[in-house]
Amino acid sequence: MMNIQQRKAEAALPFVRVVEVGEDTTDPAVWGRNWPTQYDLYNRTSLTTRTRFGGHGGSESMPPEKAEKYPWLTTIYQGYAFAIDYRERRGHAYMLEDQEKTLRQQVPQSGSCLHCHASVMPLYRDLGKDDVMAGLDATYKLSYKEVNEKLKKMGHGYPVSCVDCHDPNTMQLRVTRPGFIRGISELAASEEPVPHLPSVELWRKGSRKAPYDPNKDGTRNEMRSFVCGQCHVEYYCSGKMPLTFPWGDGLAVEKVEKYWNEKTFPDGEVFYDFKHKLTGAKILKAQHPEFEVWSQGVHSRAGVACADCHMPYVRSGATKISDHWVRSPLLNINRACQVCHSVPEQELQGRVDKIQDRNYELLQNAGKAVADLVAAIVKAREDGATDEQLKEGLELQRKAQWYLDFISSENSMGFHAPQESARILANAADIARQGQVSVLECRDRK
């Protein structure tokens, strides 16, 4: 069998380190001198791309408002900054700029927002005196503007950068974000089955003395999804408590809902994101749960990682490297899908189209149902219904809207877990319509 020495010799490194990079090297251009191809590809996230539901217009313009295609979004977000401005996403190159420019900033945003929009680790070390957890926790009460300025003054005003996913000494993948590290260790500590994360199942069988640590316990394959799970997840990020990834009961939509329902703010009030301006319901807001939804699909169970599809290998001279042009895999079906699925490109596109068409239909149906519920509550209030009479209707709005938003804010139009996304949207519509019935029956209630 091959021994380690032999292997070391074989692994002739295909690159030369011409500059040293370290934990504070957030500028990707510096890393680019050692790894020019990855850097070139990384830079392409600024280019224009287009698919039916994904891609973006590059630097030409801000992406379109989501409400153009989904008018009910304006209704359901009434009373929240997302009703002001909520756009389709763009490539990684724009993450900092888009966050600065969003009109949601008209309502003061929290300093924790930067967790996922900039190369923020040096700042956390600074704020937390080398304890990154403390560093993150120092930001939620600060204003976005203040933290953003400090970051830039320190020279780290970059979108997600090499150092956020790579150990500068070994180039191995690693996660850096405190939110993820806390979230995943809470998930591990729960009893929720996670067949797609074998290292968590393994950790559970051990002594459990040290909390689950993705950087120590995660497999290489899991890391290829964990690095994305640092940001592409549901979260709470505002001024009332520190940034939270709600995974303590599991990743399924009902488990996350349970987590929020059992959470209280430091002042003891039951958790909610905002009070609906038209109905008064206390609403939960879901954000881009790609990691959570992917976790429910058959790809994750088969060990297929985010990077497999969104950063597939490409030939570069005599070697192959990961495509750092993170983007829709549909722009790249041959590399992103065909290594595993040896069927024609057109057929794969056809399968995705079917999945996305069905999801789009259900999404619009569920959106209409929730909007109808809001309208019904508004009308009942006009007709003099009391809070007591509307109690059930308001609870059903919170629930239905949560399910709707979970898939509406997820970014694969159902692809990451087709049946689960359909199930969630089915429940959203069913519950919203039950709400309508409950509101109509108000009149018969005491």
Partner: protein, 181 residues
């Protein structure tokens, strides 16, 4: 007989691992049963690298047929992918596998469809890397050492034997609808 069967299917339970292997060789190749199997299944040629040797067991026909249609038909034979490269690993693995195969074939008690076991999939991985070292150099830990954890077959599962789906794999059926073994 029952005891012998239990022993054959899990010799490590009776003795230490290393002795288990030696015993397996002994039992697999020198008992009357073993010799018969070994001889009849043309066991001596098992020690060569000719793919026909593997296909000598009809059990291996599916893999043999599908390999002939695969992209590697001209670049690699069974042994290149499935046996460790170099002495003495090659012969230990052959003996150990030989034992499993003869036993499986004789008792017909193996899992169907045949699924590669952990040890053999490690050998396989090492062989992919051996031939494609330059190409995959970037994928390997800079520090060297540990086994690559992303298996090549995670993406390239079809390289040796083509895609899996189909009419039960590589079986041929004539116009009468009869299956040709």
């Amino acid at each position: 007989m029952h005891k012998l069967k239990t022993f054959l299917s899990n010799p490590e339970d009776f003795v230490g691992k290393r002795t288990g292997l030696l015993l397996a060789l002994l039992v697999g190749f020198t008992s009357g049963l073993g010799i018969y199997t070994f001889y009849y299944a043309e066991g001596f040629s098992y020690m060569s690298s000719d793919p026909k040797v593997c296909a000598n067991c009809h059990i291996m026909n599916l893999q043999y047929d599908s390999w002939q249609k695969s992209g590697h038909h001209h670049s690699a034979v069974c042994a290149d992918c499935h046996l460790p490269h170099g002495f003495p690993g090659k012969y230990i693995a052959k003996a150990e596998n030989g034992y499993h195969h003869s036993k499986g074939f004789t008792f017909q008690d193996f899992h169907e469809p045949i699924m590669i076991k952990k040890k053999n999939s490690e050998i396989l991985q090492a062989n992919c890397v051996r031939c494609h070292a330059d190409l995959v150099a970037y994928m390997r830990p800079e520090a060297g050492g540990a086994r690559m954890e992303v298996d090549c077959v995670h993406c390239h599962s079809s390289v040796g034997h083509g895609p899996r789906a189909g009419l039960g794999g590589g079986y041929k059926i004539n116009r009468k609808g009869e299956i040709i073994p």
